[in-house]
């Protein structure tokens, strides 16, 4: 069945079983591998993308449900790693193995849109359903607080947060 939706601004039409999770359409049909498979049951957050601007677990959304919708993936949040969240991730040297980081970043970007001036506790609550086995939570927390400051027009030295 042909299903049409938009990914990072381009229109895509795929012919797959309508029950196929968006994750596997992105990865296997469209070869957009930045979005990761981690658990398949919406527990780890590695597959997080934006559907019409909201963070969603792509492993648990049948592609039929995104027909006509706008999807943003990690590949689409900036052309040149310039998004303040990406920049903050670099400054805090957040990733280790990096596998979960696409999902972490997509969760953080959507969260900061909803809550541009979060406290550390807000960040903890928002990010506590994304799993990182390398244990980068402390650096991610700092990176999100930093990105929030940047997006408000302030900047902070590394180590200041």
């Amino acid at each position: 069945m042909a299903i049409t939706f938009e990914v990072n601004g381009s229109t895509k039409t795929v012919d797959v079983d309508p029950g196929t999770p968006l994750l596997w359409v992105l990865r296997d049909t469209l070869n957009m591998t930045g979005t990761k498979y981690g658990c398949g049951i919406a527990q780890c957050g590695a597959c997080t993308v934006h559907v019409n601007g909201d963070a969603q677990r792509s492993c648990s959304i049948p592609v039929s449900l995104v027909a006509g919708k706008k999807i943003t993936t990690i590949e689409g949040i900036s052309k040149d790693r310039s998004h303040p969240v990406q920049q903050a991730w670099i400054l805090e040297q957040a990733p280790q193995c990096g596998y979960c980081q696409s999902g972490q970043i997509m969760t953080a970007v959507a969260f900061l849109k909803q809550n541009p001036k979060p406290t550390a506790a807000d960040v903890d609550a928002a990010m506590s359903h994304n799993i990182c086995r390398c244990g980068t939570a402390q650096r991610i927390r700092k990176a999100i607080l930093r990105a929030s400051l940047e997006m408000q027009g302030h900047s902070a030295q590394r180590g200041a947060l």
Binding site: I77, R81, W89, I90, Q93, C97, G98, A137
Partner: protein, 732 residues
């Protein structure tokens, strides 16, 4: 010309030829003990690493896998510093897995920096010497009068860039290896400084390629249904429905490969991962459940207790421990049993391996810690010659020891052989990954000992049993060889010390999990010394310090082990204590605990601060002090310690693998829970300044984590936790 020679020529051309500028290139192959240049290097290879300098810049071709530990930055840091170039001007490439050119590529045991340090420095110094000699010749001055900075050789007002000197340098002989002049530590410009990791940009925009992300043209996807019971086999199967599904190409049985302990099962090859996942659900398989179908964690626990009560093998006995324990007054004697469960690695990227078999050769893309083993395994299962197989190591989405295995290669090789001409990506589901791991062994430890009125340790007896790794992977070695860790190098002064062990039989697969046996032994030793301190009525820090008198402790079982330096252990204890404010008061319901452990030749002490308020446990802060010799990449070290602490906290507070009916109970992150951000303590890492050769840090932060927390809970509540992972009833 034979196939082998073709390949050799190809590899050598790739390595020795520059594609830029005049084509001049200086290539050096090296390891710690030898070094060779250019064409002359090829016949005497393999080497562990190569440097290539051409007009385009400096590249380190390194065999070490990047699994998040930052090795693709810490190794070029050493090279760039010794060579005299700026951090931004060194590139790093993962070496191709070509055994003719590259030696051991295994990545693990916290050994990459320690094992590469001297080789990198010698090779960097050799290249710098040749580049300087070329400039000196050009200017007709003495090489000693030239200086090197940021890839430029200078003499007075004369300057030449490395790129301008490569051609001349490539024609010089290598300098005398024994006379190489290495930089003095005080002249280091990159080593010991904070730099930005080279792998991070690709990890924030989705462009990093992990094994699961490779997409060679025409690729198919495969999954394997394995027997849920460890050691079970396919009796027969019906794949009619699965085969009839749209997008399913092939369904067939693959064999277990005993050498790598892979399980065998029914493989489904399909157009996408999702189709393969759906098709395997339609398989009807009749399993022979094998000899372990009744195994359970409960039965294993009973067996552990029976074994630990039986006559064990004496490993170390300094004399009189039994007598001293029996004679001790009740209030000065401490008996404690400690228990640790199986643990899964649960790397975020599930196991996978992509293989294309094409005629008489094959190509492999794999996130592996041991690419050579992948290569020989694919050769074994495909029947192809090892030199006809090219292995590309991708980025690893976590390793923690799991990716040292080659079971996924045994499966992927067999699958690809059935679909010749097309690459096939074998993917494990999360459930596959968690229920068919090689787990951290479960273990049981019975400690007895006594202190006297002055706080001396009169006796320390450690009787233990476990499901040993050695029995699984090196059955000819004594089972205890993989299980005892630092208990064979007892750091604390004790009048008598006795160590005893026997294995317990189990069908559960096990292997190396982050910090291996130290993850269990560290918990036991550092809990028990804390218990002895309290029995002696001493402060746990002071008690430990008083037992570390600066002596070196050799390993009587393994003479190749590096002696434990009790002064360095004391040093990290003191530093962690000082930075944590050990003696400062804490609010009601809060407690502080300390632990220190020696593993992988490194010394780490952690202080945990916890609170137990209205029965709610929170780990608020962990202060860590590490002594790992020369700190090469301080921010990388901090990241690794943070990482090991979180991994250790998850195992102490949240996760375990239990066994029921011969299978793993936990199959996904819903039941194998991990530490979330709102449970993540503030972690501070302090590094002891040192000019000793560097030792590893990927693992040593883990062992002192759990005991620091349980010791802190004891300080806060008076409740002693001896079984991990802890549960609410332990502290509430």
């Amino acid at each position: 010309m034979t196939d082998t020679n073709d390949r050799w020529q190809f590899s050598r051309r790739g390595l020795l030829k520059s594609a830029v500028g005049t084509g001049a290139v200086l290539v050096i192959g090296f390891d710690v003990f030898r070094i060779a240049k250019g064409q002359a290097a090829a016949p005497v290879s393999p080497f562990r690493s190569w440097i290539r300098i051409d007009e385009g810049g400096v590249t380190l071709l390194s065999g070490r896998s990047e699994m998040g530990q930052g090795i693709s930055s810490s190794l070029p840091m050493v090279l760039a510093d010794e060579l005299g170039i700026d951090w931004k001007d060194v590139r790093v490439e993962k070496a191709p897995n070509d055994p003719a050119l590259f030696g051991d590529q295994g990545t693990g045991g916290s050994g990459s920096v320690a094992g590469s340090w001297m080789g990198l420095r010698q090779a960097g110094a050799a290249a710098r010497t040749m580049l300087v000699a070329t400039a000196a010749q050009e200017w007709n001055v003495a090489p000693e009068s030239c200086t090197v900075k940021n890839g430029v050789v200078s003499h007075g007002n004369e300057h030449l860039k490395f790129s301008e000197l490569v051609e001349g340098a490539s024609k010089l002989p290598l300098p005398d290896f024994s006379k190489l002049k290495l930089k003095r530590p005080e002249d280091f410009k990159i080593i010991g400084k904070v730099v930005q990791r080279k792998d991070i940009p690709s990890k924030i925009d989705g462009s990093a390629i992990f094994g699961i992300d490779v997409r060679p043209p025409g690729m198919l996807y495969a999954m394997v249904e394995r027997c849920p019971v460890f050691g079970g086999k396919v009796k027969n199967f019906d794949a009619t429905t699965a085969k009839s599904m749209r997008g399913v190409h092939e369904v067939f049985e693959i064999a277990a490969v005993p050498g790598v302990h892979s399980w065998g099962g029914i493989a489904v090859v399909a157009d996408s991962t999702w189709i393969a996942m759906q098709a395997r659900k339609k398989l009807r398989i009749d399993w022979d459940l094998g000899p372990h179908a009744n195994e359970s964690s409960e039965l294993l626990r009973t067996e552990f207790r029976r074994v630990v009560d039986s006559r064990l093998k004496t490993i170390i006995d300094t004399g009189n421990a039994d007598t001293a324990i029996d004679a001790a007054p009740k209030d000065k004697r401490v008996d404690a049993d400690y228990e640790l469960p199986f643990q899964a690695h649960a790397t975020m990227e599930p196991m996978n391996c992509t293989v294309k078999v094409d005629g008489d050769h094959a190509e492999v893309w794999v996130p592996a810690q041991g690419p050579e083993w992948v290569l020989t395994t694919v050769a074994e299962v495909t029947g192809l010659k090892p030199n006809a197989i090219k292995v590309n190591t991708t980025l690893l989405g976590g390793g923690f020891g799991r990716r040292y295995q080659a079971d996924f290669a045994a499966e992927a090789g067999q699958v690809a052989k059935r679909v010749p001409g097309r690459p096939v990506q074998l993917i494990w589901s999360r459930e596959d990954d968690m229920t068919h791991d090689y787990y951290r062994p479960a273990s049981y430890h019975r400690l007895s000992g006594a202190v006297d009125a002055k706080g001396n340790i009169l006796a320390w007896r450690h009787r233990s049993t476990s499901t040993p790794i050695a029995e699984w992977w090196s059955p000819k070695a004594p089972p205890e060889s993989s299980e005892l860790g630092c208990s064979t190098q007892m750091p604390y002064l004790a009048k008598s010390y006795k160590l005893e062990y026997l294995p317990t039989a189990s069908g559960v697969p096990r292997a190396w999990w982050r910090s291996v046996e130290a993850s269990s032994i560290g918990f036991v030793m550092e809990s028990y010394v804390d218990e002895l301190a309290h029995a002696a009525g001493k402060d746990p820090l002071e008690f430990r310090i008083s037992k570390l008198d600066g002596r070196l402790v050799k390993n009587p079982i393994d003479k190749s082990s590096v002696p434990l330096n009790t002064a360095r252990l004391r040093g990290v204890l003191q530093l962690a204590a000082d930075k944590s404010g050990w003696n400062s008061a804490l609010p009601q319901g809060h407690g502080r605990g300390i632990a220190a452990h020696y593993s992988f030749n490194s010394y780490v002490s952690n202080v945990a601060e916890v609170s137990v308020i209205e029965n709610k446990l929170k780990v608020n802060r962990i202060v860590s002090a590490v002594d790992i010799g020369t700190p090469v990449s301080p921010d990388g070290i901090r990241a690794q310690v943070e990482s090991a602490i979180i991994y250790g906290l998850t195992a102490a507070l949240k996760s375990q693998i239990t066994i029921k009916n011969g299978r793993a109970v936990q199959s996904n992150f819903d039941r194998f829970s991990t530490l979330a951000m709102n449970e993540t303590p503030l972690i501070e890492v302090y590094i002891v300044p040192s000019t000793l050769p560097p030792t590893g840090i990927g693992e040593p932060g883990l062992p002192p984590t759990a005991p620091a927390v349980t010791n802190a809970i004891f300080a806060a509540t008076g409740k002693r936790i001896r079984r991990l992972p802890m549960v609410e009833s332990d502290w509430a």
